[in-house]
């Protein structure tokens, strides 16, 4: 029980060099936690800055420019400000649930991050039930939003959280189905094996490898994950004009920072899952032309991985600032009357393609 079944070079090195197994176990655990937190907080800081800059340039503005060159210290200042704010619950709020909600919300993205392969050996846990666990922990995100909205004792919060809950439950079905489609193609639920099933050149990534339906599945993933992330254009949960701020209206200071953080870590994990499932994960870009491929393969896997992840994040940000927000009933109609049938069709088509031998897992 003390030695995990997964062998890992860094873990093995510590287990071999620390005399007491319990201490080695503890050190390994601490390394894992520190690594995940570094990725999560670091990415969130970068993303806040990136979002403001992308937003500004889309709207022909400059964005933050004062603090540091091109305003790059602005996020640090904002974070420090959030840390020093007083945290208080509104009068009449359920204190226990009010403070529990952001913590529940944060469990899901951290659990997802721990399963993502950043490189051949840079992965906290390579478990055989990776995709089911991602689908399962997504429920905690909905839970955190529902609890936070209710515990605030505010009508806008409650309405926002109910809207968001209904939206996330609906879109979770499509999201899960697209992931199952990828599982069916690659024949494995482990994220590491899904990545390795795409080794080869550019056209072995699942977005291109499955003729036609791979790209369709990727588009479906983009739509359903944007809704799952509660990001614009599907941000009816916190539509400022209608609900002042949605489920986190009453939150402030660190509690609000946790909601904010969860949003951005979710953006990272969703982009990472898209990268793993469709864009070949940490595998380097290759065109099937040896001289170029060898040069591209020199770049380490985790740089490829983060490059693809940030490209995906850029796509999400451009989506956010390009499209208009649909109404609540239009949003639900889109999921139940369009995405869900198309996803069922995609699953069936995938099965047909595999049985005909057009896709080799």
């Amino acid at each position: 029980m003390m030695t995990p079944s997964i062998t890992h070079p860094i873990g093995d090195f510590i287990r071999a060099n620390v005399p007491i197994p319990e201490l080695a176990y503890l050190i390994n655990a601490i390394i894992c936690i520190v690594a995940i937190c570094t990725v999560a907080f670091g990415a969130a800081m970068v993303l806040v800055y990136m979002e403001r800059k992308v937003c500004a340039h889309v709207q022909c503005r400059l964005g933050p420019m004062r603090l540091g060159p091109h305003g790059c210290i602005q996020t640090v200042a904002d974070t420090i400000k959030l840390f020093f704010k007083e945290v208080y619950a509104p009068n009449g709020a359920d204190k226990f649930l009010f403070y529990l909600a952001p913590m529940v919300l944060l469990t899901a993205p951290f659990m997802c991050l721990s399963m993502i392969p950043f490189d051949h050996n840079l992965q906290v846990a390579d478990i055989s039930v990776g995709i089911p666990l991602i689908i399962a922990v997504n429920g905690f995100g909905i839970l955190g939003i529902l609890l936070g909205g209710w515990a605030s004792n505010n009508k806008y919060s409650l309405l926002g959280s109910l809207r968001s809950g209904a939206q996330m439950i609906s879109y979770e079905i499509s999201y899960a189905m697209i992931l199952l489609f990828v599982v069916m193609m690659s024949g494995s639920c482990s994220l590491q094996e899904i990545t390795l099933s795409q080794s080869g050149n550019l056209f072995d990534w699942w977005i291109f490898k499955a003729p036609g339906i791979g790209f369709l599945a990727f588009l479906m993933f983009l739509i359903s994950s944007t809704a799952e992330l509660n990001r614009a254009p599907f941000d009816i949960a916190e539509a400022e004009q209608e609900l002042t701020g949605g489920y986190h209206t009453e939150y402030n200071g660190l509690a609000f920072a946790m909601f904010y953080l969860a949003e951005y870590i979710n953006l990272v994990t969703t982009s990472a899952i898209a990268t793993v499932c469709f864009l070949g994960g940490y595998l380097p870009l290759s065109f099937g032309y040896a001289p170029v491929d060898h040069v591209l393969a020199i770049v380490p896997g985790f740089i490829w991985f983060f490059g693809k992840v940030f490209a995906m994040i850029w796509v999400y940000m451009m989506l956010r600032w390009t499209f208009v927000r649909p109404r609540v009933d239009q949003l639900m109609g889109l999921e139940w009357k369009f995405l869900l049938p198309v996803n069922l069709l995609l699953l069936a088509l995938g099965a047909v393609f595999i049985s005909l031998g057009w896709i080799v897992p």
Binding site: M1, P132, F140, I142, L146, W150
Partner: protein, 180 residues
């Protein structure tokens, strides 16, 4: 040199998880607020999932989190939020009812303990399944195989049943033209 043997470690972990489960289960009943009860119930379910993981039943653990913590509880909370006036009046339970409930649960506990004690080889059998027996791939293969170990007919019957339920739900929820 090891400070803790594997058996001792798993024992300690078991009692830790079990204590959390019992604590949250009691909190579920004792909480004055219906929504707080639901939240404590989630922690209890997650504890059950951890117990499944310790028994190497990975898929059971995932199903536990997916179906109960992620699905059932969300709908329970939705139902609570949409129907009741929370926090206005706590549930009042009269004493005779509490007494009857205590009697029934004690009787249930007694029956359960008796059955567990009657299980043959309880002291000698290993608590975990053989490694890989309950893993996702072997689970799926067993579910779909037609051999003596397979469960393909129950699997198909359940899928048919779920399809019927879905069609029924859509039929009930459907609005016909002119009916509003």
């Amino acid at each position: 040199m090891t400070l803790l043997s594997d058996a001792l470690f798993s024992d300690v972990m078991f009692y830790l998880v079990a204590a959390v489960m019992i604590g949250t289960a009691i909190a579920t009943i004792m909480a004055k607020n219906l929504l707080q009860s639901a939240v404590f119930l989630i922690f209890s379910f997650v504890g059950t999932a951890i117990l499944y993981l310790m028994l190497h039943a990975e898929f059971m653990a995932m199903a536990q989190i997916m179906v109960y913590a992620g699905g059932v509880i969300i709908f329970v909370i939705f139902t609570i939020l949409l129907t009741s006036h929370l926090g206005e009046s706590a549930l009042h339970i009269k004493l005779p009812r509490t007494f009857i409930a205590l009697m029934i649960s004690l009787a249930f506990l007694w029956v359960m303990v008796r059955f567990v004690v009657l299980t043959p080889d309880l002291n000698v059998a290993t608590p975990t399944a053989t490694s890989g027996y309950a893993s996702l791939s072997s689970f799926a293969l067993r579910l779909l195989s037609t051999g003596p170990e397979g469960f393909v007919i129950p699997f198909e019957i359940i899928s048919l049943l779920l399809l019927v339920t879905l069609v029924c739900a859509i039929t009930i929820a459907r609005k016909f033209k002119g009916e509003e």
